[in-house]
Symmetry: C2
Subunit: 359 residues, 2 copies
């Protein structure tokens, strides 16, 4: 490996929104375009994916759009979910269950309010070894000084409690944005991991103040929080890995905030993901942790071995090789917009220059 | 005074942006429309108002647009400003000097970086009894964890230092947004006052997250900060009073954030100001403090007596009366937009209902 090319084995995005309908056709193809061969797919569609059948149908739709990507499916935690359904889901290859607190982000109106009701479901998940994915924010409440800035730290006691009650249940705190979250996950056992997005390695609150394209939930926080995220990636901590939370919205929902309606929450990184992550990791001197961060750490936690592909070698023999992606150092400007028929989407850092591109 | 009408003597807005050119014609008329007869006018035009001559010319332009309002003029603190110019300004009736930290808000590119250089100017201001108006934020700096959320608390030591060095200089900390700022101003002497905007009595960070029409500098902070602002108004503290910081921008600069350019900072409250403040004060049970907050506190600090007007009484005699404005309880929907020829502006709370209107 020279300093001008980087080979990464089987990049895996452990948190991505692939939407539905014709919009899905646009964005699902961007997983591969961004250098990734595995997508851990969020279930917050309209209506949410709540059963094994729905998840399998959705998986088939995604495979029809791009069969070259491996899709790991999840269910939306809701009162309809039973221990029986968990066992059925596990048997069908579904990997995780996603919990959204009520009302805190896109399509979370049916989210949870308290975890105790779900203990039988979590027990079943622990038994069959499914993963619990937590959107770790509590809803805002002025009476308790809770707002988008402290919604994540305020959630952490729930994570501690769940882990104490279900120590063998694999739990992922999704898209951490605070030093408090990083410290909390570090302090917990090996069954608790944490995803970090690309954009939260780049943004602070100043970047989304008045700039709706950088607005997402959880919101980017203080500079010292961003530093904590960068530091844990640089440290190469095995329980921290990429989950892009790439969340596409039509430009009309991002760019025009009317006085009566806020813009949609979400930053879209899929089509530039691997070059962007390389660019960002290099900016804080952590490029040597690219492969653990975007591939091996997450695959180890999720027990997802690297896919082998059959290739013909130089001697003409067919052999098994690891699936790899190569980046080369080259300045490339991020597209202003991706358009397919009636759908379009604006990527993160539109018009900015990245230092790396896919070879 | 019944509970359905409120009479307020001579409402005074001690911080307002009246812009220039044809845009000024639209917004200057909104001072009176919002129930106010005194406007303390900010100098951050393009280029900024830096001399007595420029301030007097600007005042004449404003008087030509609406002669019924009293305009108190200010100069923009910059290296060009001399003690001689201060004495000249005072003699010409100019009331204050506004300090903007470099780059933190609209047209502040020429703002200050350190106060020591200006000590001779402050000495002259202290001698002639002019007011120093401080935009109390320091520029963001990731290296010191400084961002829009803590820019104001980080500024407060500068305020303390200035007050200690110039104890007789009247200083106003403008548009306070944090509990820290309220506590700081309370702890200082009688020569230090503080303005509070209408919108900061209403907003928290959640309201401008993804909603550019609620984005202004300083940004609205935590619920407990808003509570501290409400509490000091409710307490009727004499050194806290209204300065709307009403800051109009064309809708195109507010509504459409492109990926490469953030929207303009500013919330526009002028045309609904007095009804809005009454509505908000009533919401936290402080309606009895309306007159001190919007008139007498600020007039006392600024030494601006209430204007008397000659009116014919019921017996047909001409007598001198205090200038008053009457509000009546009546549901009124805030306009979606104000348009005059090529100019338009969207008010705060467009489309929402207020409980009070001007009689």
């Amino acid at each position: 490996m020279s300093t001008d090319t980087i080979r990464v084995v089987a990049p895996a995005d452990f948190h991505v929104h692939l939407r539905q309908g014709s919009f899905s056709e646009l964005v699902t193809k961007h997983v591969r375009k961004g250098g990734f061969t595995l997508a851990y797919v969020m279930p917050n569609l309209q209506p949410p994916i709540k059963s094994t059948e729905e998840a399998l149908l959705y998986k088939a739709q995604l495979q029809a759009i791009d069969p070259s990507v491996e899709y790991l499916m999840t269910l939306y935690l809701s009162p309809e979910l039973t221990p029986e359904e968990i066992r059925k889901a596990k048997a069908a290859g579904i990997v995780g269950v996603k919990s959204y607190p009520r009302g805190v982000t896109t399509n979370s109106e049916g989210g949870i309010e308290s975890y105790e009701t779900y203990y039988p479901v979590f027990e079943a998940m622990e038994q069959v070894d499914m993963v619990l994915n937590l959107h770790g924010e509590v809803p805002s409440d002025p009476a308790t000084n809770t707002c988008v800035l402290n919604a994540e730290p305020t959630f952490l006691p729930h994570l501690r409690k769940l882990h104490a009650r279900f120590p063998k249940l694999r739990i992922v705190l999704e898209h951490a944005t605070t030093k408090a979250a990083v410290d909390c996950v570090k302090s917990l056992g090996d069954t608790v991991a944490c995803t970090i997005t690309a954009h939260h390695l780049a943004l602070t609150v100043d970047d989304w103040a008045g700039q709706s394209f950088n607005f997402c939930k959880p919101v980017a926080k203080y500079p010292e929080d961003r530093k904590a995220l960068q530091d844990v990636v640089k440290e190469g901590h095995p329980r921290f890995f990429l989950g892009s939370d790439s969340a596409p919205h039509p430009p009309s929902k991002k760019s025009t905030a009317t006085p009566t309606q806020p813009c949609a929450a979400g930053v879209y990184t899929s089509p530039i993901l691997l070059p962007l992550v390389a660019h960002l990791l290099e900016s804080f001197d952590a490029l040597d942790k690219l492969e653990p961060f975007v591939s091996t750490n997450g695959r180890a936690f999720y027990k997802q071995p690297i896919r082998m592909t059959l290739v013909e070698n130089e001697s003409g023999e067919v052999e098994e090789r690891q699936d790899t992606v190569v980046l080369r150092r080259a300045k490339a400007t991020v597209e202003n917009q991706y358009v397919v028929r009636e759908n379009s989407v604006v990527p993160f850092w539109a018009g900015k220059e990245l230092e790396w591109e896919l070879a």
